[in-house]
Amino acid sequence: MTISIPPTSKQPQESIQPRGWLRYFSFSLDHKVIGLQYLVCGFIFYLVGGALAGAIRIELASPISDFMPRDVYNQVLTLHGTIMIFLWIVPVVNGAFGNYLIPFYVGARDMAFPRLNAVAFWLIPPAGLMLISSYFITGSAQSGWTAYPPLSISTPAAGQIIWILSVLLLGGSSIFGGINFIATILKLRRPGLLLMQLPMYCWAMLGTSILVVLSTPVLAGTLILLSFDIVAHTGFFNPVLGGNVIVYQHLFWFYSHPAVYIMVLPAFGLVSEILPVHCRKPLFGYVTMVYSIMAIVGLGLVVWAHHMFTSGTPPWMRLFFTIATSFIAVPTGIKFFNWVATLWGGRISLNSAVLFSCGFIVNFVLGGITGVALAQVPFDVHVHDTYFVVAHFHYIVYGGSVFVIFSSVYHWYPKFTGRMLNENLGRFHFFLTFVGFNLCFAPQHWLGLNGMPRRVAEYDPQFTFVNQLSSVGALLMALSTLPFLFNIINSILRGKVSGDNPWNALTPEWLTSSPPPVENWLGDPPLVTEPYGYGITKEPNVEDLTEGDNTGASTK
């Protein structure tokens, strides 16, 4: 007996999918819809996390605990950290841009597992709402985003358990996404497209997804054991019952240090896409970029104990993790020098996307330098758990990843909507963010060096002025979202129509209409083997450069 599949068998499934704006609220299987769902959802959580950060900075504008009760302050800082990491940066740099861009980059019509993809997204809103609502029901977790036992065992259990459940859901979402990206990049490439011809963001996502798949399950297991300690009174991490609190820290940081790379590697990838387009130059050193991503992935798995230098780690462990951590600076440094070399000799449009990308380079270099310093045990024993560390990681995740998210929104907004953003508002947004960010976090280095520990609601009055400076910076950062929000909404309604490829970019997502059709291309996917081939066809338009001999640069 033969079964014949009628050629229209795909039709009914497509008709289930709603069209128009409604599809963004549906269980859509379209990777582009899912990508934008991640982005908008993440941004809403960013506003919540930002409001919490504002509450922290208001509390810290005075040296006494006067704005909110102390236990609420601890809940606020726990929620702020958890939301910003698990609901904003990780889902957006991975889920949002990964889902939107990776199928284009590999020449596919969708992700490898569209349903898994939709499930991965739809785990996020309930997990986020659960986490936030715990504040209103029982009071949320108050042991910091690190949830170190025994504090996390002895604080009110309900909030901590809800925190664990939502982080488990978010971790699950992240693992699903990671598996999907690996499968898509390795198996769904258009025939003829080699791995070493992929845009750099694919490599970044491949590396990130390997980290996600290797390390996130460890966090999940750890949190399950922690929840047993809380609800079933087991003694894995409870010293009263013979448990070991340091084991938790090892397991936690085995995920949570790679989590930093899960937040910044995709950002590295996105910058590598944005700069060549607006500099009209190939990405400098493609091959070394790929190797350095993979080196960061490998090293990133063996550096976790640098978060535990004061936890009573033996000298050999302190030394090993110092050296491993320091060496991450080498592949990271290569990437930064390569970006600077990409700028060199370009025709750089100083638009919002480039400004945010360059802001990222500046901020991240500072964060990286303080990172190498923090990796040195003798340095760390003074500043560990102080505002120096707070400043350092905000330079990495805000100055790094969030700047890149903004840069990416300015770069891909025409692709998402078919309309241009207002560039003047965008530049205004950049300057407000950049000044506010540096005003907020640069002084915190000094605070940490001079004796202000992190996660405190009250502090020595000698630090009042510098904290107020920092709070003013936070206010500027909060204000900076207003022009951005206005720009986004205004441009959807009446922005200039962008055309399909406003930047004249060569990467494959621009070689279709903007916004793209449901299956990405009307015909076959194009074979793009030189995604950064800017300047190959020489235009006789070099006289504007002050030196004529630049034309002698090699031309293929």
Binding site: Y148, I334, V365, T546
Partner: protein, 278 residues
């Protein structure tokens, strides 16, 4: 392939680099971001800080300078069309900026190992509290820093001063086994090594004195050791640096560093008479 040089010639670039290095060293030597140093390992720490600060400033200003220079010089002028130069890479350059950071990192690593060793980090931990000889061998004792000074002065008249620290939500308690003194403030004499054995009653705390440049977590179920030698008289804050609950920010105490005479006076006034002989 020739890498297009910028308009300022190679010599000018070299001079710029040297100028940057000198400026970095000047800033590192003249800008002080740290509180006063009040223990033997604080000056050692400050030395490391200065070196890292100088390297950091040179790298940061250098890279930011390159970015800003590129943005200004290679910006697209109005009406300008066309692409930049087609350069996909430059192997010698890429080897250079792999090797230079590797050497810098290697130097920093070796140097900080040396600093760590000078702070006494590589020596085995010990605690010579008089009624704790047995306990030490039975328990798992976890790391601290700063035993080096202790070793050196073992034979001196002023033997190391053992102190037992108990941390709890939200206070530190200091017990002097020699005089059986229980104090909420830590009193220590200048020039005498102090050996602290720290234990927590509930959650993880941390003992931090910024002026000593020392921090060690106090972990429930696992005693930790921290040794230091104070050098400058004064009152310095003891700060809990590990989130320990709602009043974490208020969990502070004071370390009073006194001249040996003053310390003896305080000690004699507070010591329990029965244990003075010990």
């Amino acid at each position: 392939m020739r890498f297009p040089l910028p308009n300022p010639s190679a010599i000018f670039t070299l001079l710029l680099c040297i100028g940057l290095a000198i400026a970095g060293i000047w800033v590192g030597d003249n800008v002080n971001l740290l509180p006063i140093d009040a223990s033997t390992n604080a000056p050692v720490y400050d030395e490391l800080f200065r070196v890292l600060f100088i390297i950091g400033i040179i790298l940061f200003v250098g890279i930011v300078g390159l970015v800003v220079y590129s943005l200004v010089r290679f910006r697209r002028r109005p009406g300008e069309l066309g692409d930049g130069i087609f350069i996909e890479g430059n192997l010698p350059l890429e080897i250079l900026w792999t090797a230079v950071p590797a050497i810098v990192v290697l130097f920093v690593g070796i140097y900080s190992y040396d600093i760590y060793d000078r702070m006494g980090g590589m020596q085995p931990l010990q605690f010579n509290g008089h009624d704790h000889h047995l306990m030490v061998s039975e328990e798992r004792i976890f790391g601290g820093i700063g035993t080096g000074a202790v070793e050196a002065s073992m034979d001196q008249l002023n033997a190391p001063l053992p102190i037992e620290v108990t941390a709890m939500q939200f206070a530190f308690l200091f017990h002097y086994p020699k005089g059986d003194i229980l104090s909420g403030e830590l009193h220590v004499p200048t020039g005498q090594p102090v050996m602290m054995r720290m234990e927590s009653k509930d959650v993880i705390h941390a003992f931090w004195v910024p002026e000593f440049r020392l921090k060690q977590d106090i972990i429930p179920g696992q005693p930790t050791i921290l040794n230091f030698t104070p050098t400058k008289p004064g009152r310095y804050p003891i700060i809990c640096a590990e989130l320990c609950g709602p009043y974490h920010g208020g969990m502070r105490s004071t370390v009073v560093v006194e001249d040996p005479d003053q310390f003896q006076e305080w000690f004699g006034k507070n010591a329990k008479e029965t244990s003075l002989e010990a």
